[in-house]
């Protein structure tokens, strides 16, 4: 029984990370109709920057904030400089550009910080809670992870639903040409979309770094998990991203716990295919399947 609880709780914690990455992918998809294969590498870079800041003596909080700010900046710069050029091109062009960016960022990280994984501090204790007589695997740090991700998701939801800026961003994402006719500076909205998406990604990076250790390729499985979660939830649904992330995290946790971790990728595939067979555009997607 303890095992089940442990697996469920750690699944929720993993799921929160997938949810954050999925959220960033969904934001970018909604804004610019591009799948950002470089997302994992981008959050890797911002986490490295936080690492550099913390290593030079600053506190964890400062490092965290630096990661968020560099995420905003990195997302904005990448959209403005690179992605803007392929937004109107066939979708595969953007795929190649993001893959190229991924390769470049991984290489640059290796050049600056080397390829040996480094350890990254956690915000809170990594010792599991004690309930009754048993010690769970779920730690205060895990609680922090879940709360922060929920906070970020809610913050973004408030931004999009209730602010003028959010209204403009949604208009630019749904009908860019109409939005232009209404005076919305669509290009700037796309840049902001990428900036906020990168922010969500940076959060995931800093939160998960203590457990995966920080290296140029450490975040690849996180990107894949986030991608599967985003597809599961429906690429145009931010709430779907969060739910998809949590569901995936818990499901994979059970698979790892009861069947062994080598089956996890395949289990992810099966879950993905099962959901997509029933709802080809994801669980929460608003777009209907085109039936011919």
């Amino acid at each position: 029984m303890t095992k089940f609880i442990d697996l469920t709780l750690s699944g929720i914690s993993d799921g929160a990370i997938y949810a954050a990455v999925a959220l960033s992918l969904v934001l970018i998809w909604r804004a610019t109709r591009i799948v950002n294969f470089a997302q994992g590498a981008m959050l890797m870079i911002t986490t490295f920057i936080a690492y550099a800041v913390i290593s030079s003596g600053a506190s964890y909080v400062v490092g965290f904030v630096v990661a968020l700010l560099s995420g905003l900046l990195l997302g904005a710069v990448i959209e403005r400089v690179l992605i803007r050029r392929v937004e109107d091109a066939p979708p595969l062009n953007a795929v190649i550009v993001t893959l190229g960016l991924y390769t470049l960022l991984v290489a640059v990280a290796g050049m600056i910080w080397g390829n040996t994984p480094k350890s990254f501090p956690a915000a809170f204790s990594l010792q599991g809670y004690k309930v009754g007589g048993t010690r769970l695997l779920f730690t205060p740090n895990d609680t922090f992870i879940v709360l922060v991700v929920i906070g970020v998701a809610l913050g973004l939801a408030v931004l999009f639903r209730f602010t003028t800026l959010g209204l403009q961003m949604r208009a630019a994402a749904f009908r860019p040409e109409v939005a232009r006719l209404l005076g919305v500076r669509v290009g700037r909205m796309f840049t902001l979309g990428w900036a906020f998406a990168a922010l969500a990604g940076s959060v995931a990076g800093v939160l998960v770094a203590p457990s995966v250790f920080l290296g140029p390729n450490s975040f690849d499985p996180i990107l894949i998990g986030g991608f599967v979660a985003a597809v599961l939830g429906g690429l145009d649904s931010p709430p779907g991203a969060v739910v998809g992330g949590l569901v995936l995290g818990v499901a994979l946790s059970y698979v790892a716990g009861y069947e062994g971790s080598s089956l996890v990728p395949l289990a992810g595939l099966l879950i993905l295919v099962a959901v997509l067979m029933v709802r080809p555009t994801g669980m929460f997607s608003a777009t209907k399947e085109r039936r011919v």
């Binding site: 550009v97 190229g100 960016l101 390769t103 690849d220 991608f227 990728p265 395949l266 289990a267 067979m277």
Partner: protein, 360 residues
């Protein structure tokens, strides 16, 4: 002579047979003239071509993205190793089996693909690419776990003489496979089925209204491209004499996609460019890294950085790939003016190989 050319112009099969013969002769001459090292590189390029050609047909002519073709190559490679190594099969039957087994795996994938669009298909094939190699760890007895399976190198037949090197023979085998794939796909692309696939790619609803069974065509295209990837993997196993999970990481599937896009979607000639790039680019970047004496950290990562810059730069500067660039150059040289699509029209998918003028 004119009569023959006339027939060739009108009949795809005749034309493709002619191209096949010409290609075989050219390759025969090339392989005899170059060194063993280069023959090996040619063999690498040939098996990449087999997988790339199938993928470019899928992405360009049928309009479906797959991020899982690396895993399909793995299926072909493991099939060959199991059959030759464990069951003692001969070379050709084993390669045929690699095509069939990969195509069989492609059936459920293709069925899924026909129901999924764009990034959802990318996601599913991505999960497949990552999940399949993990099977090797799950069933280590059959698949050899991390170390994979090993087979003996293919021996050149005695009739070719004692001096016929292994690399030369491997180049022949791989090139034969590549020529076969080229022949089959050329005929497919320029046939009625090819036109139907393009119709489905451009507008599914219109195609369905015209009576084309959209789902079946897309699934069939996927199966064919899976078979090609399987052959590519089988050839890889023959040339490398092994199949391991490490030889088919996610980055292989991504590299295949890159090769297809850089070469030009839907273009078989572009697949040749793509294959050349996949073989030569890592070599060039490595050489470049070594010629400057840089710190360990930098030189180890330099090839990767250059690769990334090339990908980004090539996409920003030549959006229709190398073959698109070549086509644009020839059009410019002929003084033709390019027509841009009218606003309000949906964005056109990238140009695929049309019924050809001379240059293919």
């Amino acid at each position: 002579m004119n009569a023959v050319l006339g027939i060739a112009r009108r009949h795809t099969l005749v034309r493709s047979l002619g191209l096949l013969a010409a290609g075989a002769i050219v390759l025969l001459l090339i392989t005899s003239a170059i060194s063993d090292y280069n023959n090996l590189q040619l063999a690498y390029g040939a098996y990449y071509f087999a997988a790339l050609a199938g993928l470019t047909m899928l992405a360009g002519v049928s309009g479906q993205i797959s991020l899982g073709h690396g895993a399909l190559m793995a299926v072909g490679a493991y099939t060959v190793c199991l059959l030759i190594g464990n069951e003692g099969w001969a070379l050709i039957p084993a390669l045929v089996a690699s095509v069939l087994v990969a195509a069989a795996v492609g059936v459920p994938l293709g069925a899924a693909a026909s129901r999924l669009r764009g990034p959802y298909l990318a996601g599913a094939t991505l999960a497949f690419a990552v999940g399949l190699p993990a099977l090797a760890d799950r069933f280590p007895a059959t698949f050899g776990g991390e170390n994979g399976l090993v087979i003996n190198p293919p021996t050149p037949p005695a009739s070719l003489g004692a001096n016929f090197s292994l690399e030369h023979w491997e180049a022949w085998i791989a090139c034969a496979g590549a020529l076969l794939v080229m022949f089959v796909l050329y005929n497919l692309i320029h046939s009625g089925s090819g036109r139907s696939l393009r119709a489905v790619r451009d507008d599914e609803i219109a195609a369905a209204v015209c009576g084309l069974s959209v789902g079946r065509m897309q699934a069939a295209a996927f199966v064919v491209s899976a078979g090609c990837a399987g052959l590519g993997g089988g050839l890889l196993a023959v040339v490398a004499q092994l199949a391991t999970p490490g030889a088919f990481p996610l980055s292989l599937s991504l590299a295949l996609l890159v090769g297809v896009v850089l070469g030009g979607l839907g273009s078989l000639v572009g697949a040749i460019w793509g294959a050349a790039l996949l073989v030569l680019l890592p070599n060039w970047t490595n050489d470049l890294a070594h010629s400057f004496s840089l710190s360990e950290k930098v030189s180890a990562n330099l090839p990767l950085a250059i690769y990334g810059v090339v990908l980004i730069g090539a996409m920003l500067m030549w959006p229709s790939g190398i073959q698109g660039g070549v086509r644009a150059l020839t059009a410019w040289a002929r003084g033709a003016r390019s027509r841009r699509s009218l606003p309000g029209e949906p964005p056109r998918p990238p140009e695929a190989a049309h019924d050809p003028p001379a240059a293919r």
